[in-house]
Amino acid sequence: MDYATLLQILDSTLRLATPLLLACLAGLFSERAGIFDIGLEGKMLAAAMASGAVAASGMSIVLLIPLTSVEVVVISPVMFGLIAGILASLLFALIHAVASITFRGNQLISGVALNFLASGITVLVAQRLFGQGGRTPPISGDARFNPITLPFAESLRDVPVLGPLYYEVISGHSALVYVALLAVPASWWVLYRTRFGLRLRAVGENPAAVDTAGISVTGLRYAAVALTGILCGLAGAYMATALQAGFGREMTAGRGYIALAALIFAKWRPVAALWACLLFGFFQALALRPDVVERVAGLKVPVPFLDALPYALTVIVLAGFIGRAIPPRAGGEAYVKER
């Protein structure tokens, strides 16, 4: 395999890993707070539809903020779409929170129900709005996240080895890819270096102790689920307005579930989540190039095998062959205050 091919595969890896990473971090916040969320898929789908629809409408908003002088802030269609995507995802997150925190319902059932709801309602709304079969119209220009060339990418291009790597793989993605990558250290910092993070982790391990300390379990869990909603919103908007030019029926194609697998693979830790998602993204990118796999491996590897690898690896990790994956202890259980 030559260097150019490797770079192409890594480039593809980064694009494919981004929605997984955002969804994986989303799941991380929720599950670390003790709320299992199988509805990542549904939230991404809802966000993809909302952002695609709003971006396609081409609306931009001019905000006049009266500070010392009147500030004019223009929100372009793509940013407006992003906001709409996050709001749609937050709405789904809120339903999940109300069902599983306030009403102490089964978190898995609520998540599955929301996935079904998202699958149906996205098509219904898009069909009602645009009449194009549950698809949003194709978008272009400032209704879409366009690739960004990072500083010095052009000038460093001729530096051997690292230059092309920087130019081809790291530079030239849409803004949300960099947001996703920055979300990893940010998540780590929030979880391990802030009081909020400590409490959030505690509420997933031992909510009774948190409650005894006089901190609201419900409030913390709502906050965690809201963070999940925001991150899923970014993931959905990335798919509809950066990777693709619009929303299509079921366009997330199971990425929410792969993100859950990555979360388990990463043992619920943010930095490990980055590596897990990059690895899974790499498998997906490899599956696109069966010819390369055949040349490197020397035998014909069936594409479905590569598609199945993330799940197989997750099962291996769960079975305890590579360390042990221990979920947050209070995960999946509604907190009931002792009377």
Partner: protein, 330 residues
């Protein structure tokens, strides 16, 4: 007793009323009614019939694999006649359901089901794909062209195989890159993966990509347009989706078949109906959107091949006949 008689009488009337008003019905496969491609062509055919005759028809969109048999039985029980279904995946189910409704006529597109009350419509997609393959090879500057299929099934390989043969007929040294999106029905609806496959093929030098992948193809066409290479649509005329960037579309006149089936009504002729180039079942699309891309020479070469196929002088190998392909390996 009189009540009983009344009920019997009423039900008999209801039955006759049902028979007199037998509406045709159509079931769309998992790609969805508005996939801009295969199922949408079926929908257009049904709509054309409704517009011309003023009649109405029943329709049902599949949501999951598990619904197939239930959906089919429900429509048959409701008195719909004929019941048309799009998609190879209905084959097994129809084989078990058809004998239970001997008075109902069924039509299945893309699959052969040998039952006395079933009309099986199959298309010679390899012939149409051969023509667009020639077109791709004539338009390609790099000598490398791509094919992106949806779910990896023999039918889609038939598309790919016909395409590869057409490419090689024009340029024996050309490289044809063949990729399938997946092995599950989700492969029909994954535009993101379609887009990545298109990018991967472009990086291997492909400058014309043929997508036979349902909703996934939308991502392929979009990426090809973004990346400045050409694409070829499938089933319906998709040239309009990115004017000037879609070379042509392989037409599969599913609309005509549905229209014909609806028109025949309960007098549907059963048996196998093969739609090829000769009876305008397949072809390639020319319109204002791709007029600038296709030179008269290209069109003449392709039309000449089409005539040869029609007359039987040129035989395009059908992958599904023996599961091998002379021009490509899957």
């Amino acid at each position: 007793m009189s009540l009983m008689k009344f009920l019997l009488c009423a039900s008999a009337m209801a039955l006759t009323a049902g028979a007199a008003l037998a509406e045709p019905a159509i079931i769309y496969d998992l790609g969805g009614k508005f996939d801009k491609s295969f199922n949408e062509a079926a929908f257009n055919g049904a709509e054309r019939w409704a517009k011309e005759t003023g009649g109405s028809y029943k329709e049902l969109e599949m949501q999951s694999e598990a619904q197939r048999e239930q959906a089919l039985r429900r429509l048959a029980e409701s008195g719909a006649n004929p019941v048309v279904m799009t998609g190879f995946a209905f084959g097994d189910v129809l084989n078990t359901v058809a004998p239970d409704f001997p008075d109902t006529k069924f039509a299945i597109i893309d699959m052969v089901v040998e039952q006395p009350n079933v009309k099986s419509v199959v298309f010679n997609e390899h012939e149409g794909s051969y023509l667009v393959g020639m077109m791709a090879a004539l338009a390609s500057k790099t000598g490398t062209v791509g094919f992106i299929g949806g779910m990896d099934i023999p039918l889609i390989r038939k598309f790919g195989c016909g395409y590869a043969q057409g490419v090689k007929a024009v340029n024996p040294d050309a490289t044809v890159i063949l990729n399938m999106t997946g092995t599950t029905p989700a492969a029909w609806n994954d535009p993101v993966k379609g887009a990545e496959l298109a990018k991967a093929q472009k990086s291997q030098g492909a400058d014309v990509i043929y997508a036979a992948a349902g909703g996934t193809g939308i991502g392929v066409l979009q990426t090809a347009a973004d990346e400045g290479i050409l694409s070829i649509g499938v089933d319906s005329n998709q040239n309009y989706m990115h004017p000037g960037k879609v070379l042509t579309s392989m037409l599969k006149r599913v609309d005509n078949s549905v229209y014909e089936a609806f028109k025949e009504g309960d007098a549907l002729t059963t048996g196998i109906n093969v739609m090829g180039l000769a009876n305008d079942g397949v072809g390639y699309a020319m319109d204002d959107n791709n007029a600038a891309l296709v030179t008269p020479e290209m069109q003449a070469a392709v039309d000449a091949a089409a005539e040869k196929i029609k007359s039987g002088e040129l035989a395009v190998h059908d992958y599904t006949s023996d599961n091998t392909c002379p021009a490509a390996s899957f």
